[in-house]
């Protein structure tokens, strides 16, 4: 009985004092496999001649998906207090705004 209790303690992630439970190691591994698969897909798409016209949006979509998976699961923003997410989104929104303003001002894509 005591052993069972110890095993359960080892497999169930502990609750967090300032947010929900963190993912289990199995969930982390599942996310890592998805990230590796998306990275492989990015490289494959890069070499496919037929999709060159849509390459940039496809790559941005893959990149955004990977970014979100790491931030939400590995950095625990999905599980922790929303205050952390607000802090981070503030900086991220600033960076994206800066990027878009630079591209538009200097007409980089034209």
């Amino acid at each position: 009985m005591a052993e069972t209790h110890v095993e359960e303690q080892a497999s169930v992630p502990p609750a967090r004092p300032h947010g929900g439970r963190h993912p289990s190691p199995k969930e982390y591994i599942r996310i890592a496999v998805i990230l590796a698969a998306i990275t492989a897909a990015e490289v494959v798409v890069y070499y496919i001649e037929g999709v060159q016209e849509f390459l940039v949006p496809i790559l941005f979509a893959f990149s955004a998906l990977k970014f979100a998976l790491v931030v939400l699961w590995f950095m625990h923003l999905k599980f922790d207090s929303k205050t952390y997410a607000r802090f981070f989104l503030m900086g991220l929104a600033g960076a994206i705004t800066l990027f878009i303003v630079v591209l538009l001002t200097f007409q980089v894509w034209s």
Binding site: P13, A15, E42, F74
Partner: protein, 211 residues
């Protein structure tokens, strides 16, 4: 007995009372990461602005080796996995395993930085220096800053391993490992953006007459 596992005493981290109810150190690291977003946002924007502005080579398509950089990306992604496994092990009280995962993360980080040094050396042999052209300057500054961040992360990881051997990284202090982990994952997400924008998105061919 199907006991619902409650957090072990050691898994509950402690911090001083704060007005937000959240640990100030964790808020501070998120604020730092937000400010670092702006730094890398500026560096990536500068790279995108200048990568096609070179009048003489080498150009990105002359030097980039996508399969090689892809392997580096896999290495950094793997290091993010080992980092969260280190934190998970510590939070459930398994200090020795946490130490192993922290060491593995540091080693994967070292592999990434070693790969970057090799890449820079190869590019230099192919004639791309820091001041060769606009592409070279913006590329080295951006990826160099990222490499410096990874190096700082490796030093923090090795410090954690040393502190762990000294008995100063305990489950009750798992928040320290979480902070370093947040920094490490940030370095990973910056690389996700760099890998796509710098390496995979094709550049325009050099203008006629450019050389």
């Amino acid at each position: 007995m199907a006991t619902v596992a409650q957090p072990a005493d050691h898994a509950v981290t402690e911090h001083a009372e704060t007005s937000t109810g959240l640990p100030n150190t964790k808020l501070a690291i998120w604020l730092f990461l937000a400010s670092d977003c702006l730094l890398f946002g500026a560096l990536i924007s500068t790279y995108v602005l200048y990568r096609n502005a070179s009048t003489e080579g080498p150009f990105p398509s002359d030097v980039f080796d996508i399969p090689y950089t892809s392997v580096s990306s896999f290495v950094l992604l793997a290091s993010s996995l080992t980092m969260v496994l280190a934190l998970a092990a510590l939070q459930r009280g398994d200090v020795p395993r946490s130490r192993v995962w922290l060491l593995a993360t540091a080693m994967l980080g070292l592999t990434f930085v070693g790969g970057q040094v090799y890449e820079f050396t190869t590019f230099a042999h192919e004639g791309l220096g820091l001041s060769t052209n606009m592409f070279g300057t913006s590329f080295y500054v951006l990826t160099g800053f990222h490499g410096a961040h990874v190096t700082v992360g490796i030093l923090m990881l090795l410090t954690l391993v040393a502190l762990s051997f000294g008995g100063r990284i305990t489950p009750a202090r798992s928040e320290t490992v979480e902070m370093v982990g947040l920094y490490w994952h940030f370095v990973d997400i910056v690389w996700i953006a760099i890998f796509t924008i710098v390496y995979l998105i094709p550049t325009n061919p050099p203008a006629a007459g450019g050389g």
